[in-house]
Amino acid sequence: MVNVNISYADPVDGKVPDGPPSTAWARRRDEYKLVSPLNRRKFKVIVVGTGLAGASCAAALGELGYQVSAYTIHDAARRAHSVAAQGGINAARARKVDNDSIHRFVKDTVKGGDFRGREADVFRLAEESVSVIDHMNAIGAPFAREYGGQLTTRSFGGVQVSRTYYTRGQTGQQLQVSASRSLQRQVAAGTVTLHTHEEMLDLIIKDGRARGIVTRNLKTGEVRAETAHAVVLATGGYGNVFHRSTLAKNSNVTAAWRAVRRGAYFASPSYIQFHPTALPISHKWQSKTTLMSESLRNDGRIWVPKQAGDDRPANAIPEDERDYYLERKYPAFANLTPRDIASRAAREQIESGHGVGPLKNSVYLDFRDAKQRLGVKVLDERYGNLFEMYRDATGEDPHEVPMRIAPGAHFAMGGLWTDYDQMSNIPGLFVGGEAGWGYHGANRLGANSLLSACVDGWFTLPYSVPNYLAQHLGETVLEPTDPAVQGVLKDVSERVTRLMNIGGKTPADRIHAELGEILYEGCGVSRTEAKLTAAIEKIRALREVFYTDLFIPGNPQSFNQELERAGRLEDYLQMAELMCIDALDRKESAGAHFREEYQTEEGEAARNDEDWCFVSVWEEGADGAHIRHAEPLDFKDITLETRNYK
C-alpha cells in the first residue's frame, strides 16, 4: 500500500464579509484603506504574467500611479495564453428580455461549479462583469454587434440565457491584445517596466511577507532578484501537467508551485476541467489536444452511431441510426450541458465502443443541420476561423463532414488559495486569473474564464492590493544585499546547477509524456481509489527517473529550452502527486472530479454536502507531507441542490 502521507490541520478563513453576499463587495470596498495619489509612486508592485489578469492588473495599477514591474516568459506581453480563448466572455448585463440577472448569473456559476466555489466571490464576478464589457469595448476590443449597432450575445454551456459577448472565435485574442496594449501604454508612460523572456523561479519572503521574486532571463540565463512591496501572481493554469492538453506549450505551474514550496496554500488541485470539444489524439507526435470552442455546441449537434463499432463514414449513417446522446439524456440543455457532463458522456460513449474515427477515440460534432438552417455564410461568420483550424489540423472540411472531438485536459479550477481579497496566506502575495481559484468551484462554465481574468485584473486587485500597501506606507523594499534575497538567489542558482548535473540520457519531454499518460489514466475524467493510488506510485517512480536519468544539453548561461522544460517538469512531477492526493482524499464526486465510487443510480456525480462542503486547501510539508486545511463553504443566496440538466 502506498503511503499517501496526509495530515489534517486547522481550517482557513476566507475573510468573506459578513452579511448578504450580494452586497459584500460594495461593503468590502468601503472598508479598504486608500493610498493617496502622491504616495502611490512610492510603492512598487511586481506582477508576474501578462495574460488578461496580469496585463490588466499591471495596467490598472500603473494608471493609478503605482510603480509596476511586469514579467512574462514570452517575447511579448500579448502572447500569453488568454489569447487562445475562443468563444466569448460572459457578463450579467441582462439587456435582453430573456430574464437574465446578477442573481441568475451567480446561480448558474455556483451550480455549474457544483457548489464547490465561494459564493461571495461569484457575486463580485457578476457585479463587475458589466464594467468589464464597457472597459474592454472602450479600449478597442471590437465586440460583435447587431445590425442596429448594439452588442450581440450567444449562449454557452450550463446556461439558458444568452449572456456571452464575443468577437467571432477569437474573443480571447481581441481582449488580450487590447489589454496588452493598455499595458504598453503604461510602459510608455513610465509607470510599468516590462520584462520579457523572464521566468519567475522563486519567491522572496521575509518576516512572513512576500517581498520579491527571483527570475531567470531565458535569453541570457542570468538569475536576478527584484524586490517590491507586493507580488501578484497571474501565471495561468496547470493543465499542461497532462502533457497533452488544450494549453499553450509554455503554460506552466512553476511560479505558483515555487510559491507553494515557500509556504503558499494550494486549493483544490484535482479540479481540472476536461474540455469536451478538443481534437482527439490521432498520432504519436501530436503535441497537444487543440481546442475547438464550446460555442460550436450552439449550432453543432453531438452524436455517435447507435451501433457500436459502426465503421461507415459519418454521412453514410442514416438519421435513425445516429444517437444524439446529449439531446436524448439532457433534453433541457441538450448540446449545451456543462463541460464536465458533456466530457463524461463522451467518454462513456467512447468506452462502450461507440467512438468514431480511425482510433475510435472521438465523437461527432455535426454542422449538417446548421448549414441547412443558417447557410454557409452565417456559419462562417460565427465559426469561420475554427473551421479553418480544424481543416488544417485534420485535412477534413467541417462544412462537409462532421468534426471529430474528444475530451482534453483544459482549465484548472484549482489554484493558489486566496482569501476574498485575493491575497494568499502569505501576506503581500496576491493571485489573479486562472492561477487562483474561487469562482468556478469544481467545474467552470464556458466564457467565465476570460471574465474572471478581467475582473481580477481590472476591477478587484486594483482595489485590494492598495488596501495592503496602505498598511506599509514608509517601508522601503528589501535591499539586494539582504540575506533573504541572497538566500533565494543562491537556492535558484543551485537548483539550475543541480538539474544540469543530473547527467542522464532522457530528454525532459519524454518524461513529461509519461507523466501525462499516468494522469489521464489515473486522475482523468473518471477516478477511483485504485487508479489514484496506482498513479501516485507511478508518479513517485517517474520522479526517480527524472532525478537519475534526465539529460539537459548545452549550458545554463544561454537560451536553453531544454533547461526551461526540465525546471517546469520538476514542478509538475511534484504537483501531480498533490493532484492525485487531493482526488484520493475527496470522497465524493463534484463537477469535474468524478469518483466512480460516488455516483447516483443514473451515473451522475453524487456530491456529499454533509461531509465535503468545503474547499481542500493544501500545505506542502518539508518532508513530502501533504497537510490539508479546509475552508468551509457557506451558501446564503443560492440554495444547495443537486445539479439537474435534464
Binding site: 464597457d134 449597432g149 529550452q561
Partner: protein, 250 residues
C-alpha cells in the same frame, strides 16, 4: 516519410550562423511542421546534442509566437497559414526542407530559428492603444457600431503579431502590421479621439525599424491572420490625414 532538413544554426546574436543538414526518417503527413522539429529534437537530445531552438506556444495559430521560414517562405508552403498549422501533407517522401528564422534586419537572431521581435512592440508602445483608464468607460451599448463596421474592425484587428509580413517583404516593410492597427481603430468610434496622434507617433516609430512599402503584396499572401492588403493603403491614408491635421490629436 524520409526528409532532408537543412536548419539554420546560430548560437547567439553575436556569432555567425550556418546551415546543418539532418536526415529524418519515420516522419508522416499528419505531423505539423513543429511536430517534425520536436521529433528531430528528441533524436538530437537523446544523442547528446543540442536541440534546434525555435519558439512556439499555442500551436493553434492565434498567439503569433512561432514563425519559421521554410524553403524561403515565411511560415511555410501553405499561404496564410502559421508554422504551427503547416503540415507535412504539403510535402512528399524524399523532399528537402530548408528551415531558417524570419529574415529581416529588424529581427536579430537570438538563437537558431528564434528572432527578437521587440520592434513590433515598440510600434504599439508609440501609439497603438486607446487611452482610457479602467473604470472610466461609458456603457458599451451607448456606442452604436453597425454589424458591418464591427466586422471590418475585426478583419484588421485579427493580426497575431508574428512578423511574417515583414519577413516576406523584399523591403522589410511593416505596413501590413502598422496598417492593421491603424485601420482597425480608425473604423471604430473608440479610435477617433487619438486618430491623428496615433498615426503620427506609430508610423514615426515604424519608420525607424522597417523599410518602405513598394506594394509587392507578399505580406498579404503570407499573413496567417488573413489581414487584407488594403491595410497598407491605410498607412498612406492615415499618414496623409494626420499631416493635414497638424497639431490635432483626432
Amino acid at each position: 516519410m524520409k526528409l532532408t532538413i537543412e536548419v539554420w544554426r546560430q548560437d547567439n546574436t553575436a556569432t555567425a550562423g550556418r546551415f546543418e543538414t539532418y536526415t529524418v526518417t519515420g516522419a508522416y503527413e499528419e505531423m505539423s511542421l513543429l511536430e517534425l522539429i520536436d521529433y528531430l529534437n528528441d533524436q538530437l537530445v537523446s544523442e547528446g546534442r543540442e536541440p534546434i531552438a525555435y519558439e512556439s506556444d499555442c500551436r493553434e495559430g492565434i498567439c503569433g509566437t512561432c514563425g519559421i521560414t521554410v524553403n524561403d517562405q515565411p511560415h511555410g508552403p501553405v499561404p496564410n497559414t502559421p508554422s504551427c498549422r503547416q503540415h507535412l501533407r504539403s510535402f512528399k517522401d524524399g523532399d528537402n526542407l530548408r528551415l531558417e528564422p524570419f529574415r529581416s534586419e529588424a529581427f536579430p537572431v537570438v538563437r537558431d530559428l528564434v528572432v527578437d521581435r521587440t520592434a513590433l512592440d515598440d510600434v504599439i508602445r508609440a501609439g497603438g492603444f486607446v487611452s482610457v483608464d479602467a473604470g472610466t468607460a461609458a456603457d458599451a451599448d451607448s456606442m452604436q457600431i453597425g454589424h458591418g463596421r464591427a466586422e471590418q474592425a475585426l478583419d484588421f484587428s485579427a493580426c497575431i503579431g508574428c512578423g511574417a509580413c515583414i519577413a516576406a517583404c523584399p523591403n522589410g516593410s511593416a505596413n501590413l502590421y502598422a496598417g492593421s492597427i491603424l485601420q482597425s481603430l480608425s473604423v471604430l468610434p473608440q479610435g477617433q479621439a487619438e486618430r491623428s496622434s496615433r498615426a503620427r507617433n506609430l508610423l514615426a516609430e515604424a519608420d525607424t525599424h522597417f523599410g518602405p512599402c513598394s506594394v509587392y503584396g507578399e505580406c498579404a499572401v503570407t499573413c496567417p491572420a488573413g489581414i487584407p492588403l488594403s491595410a497598407i493603403a491605410a498607412v498612406n491614408r492615415e499618414r496623409a490625414r494626420s499631416a493635414f491635421r497638424k497639431g490635432k490629436d483626432d
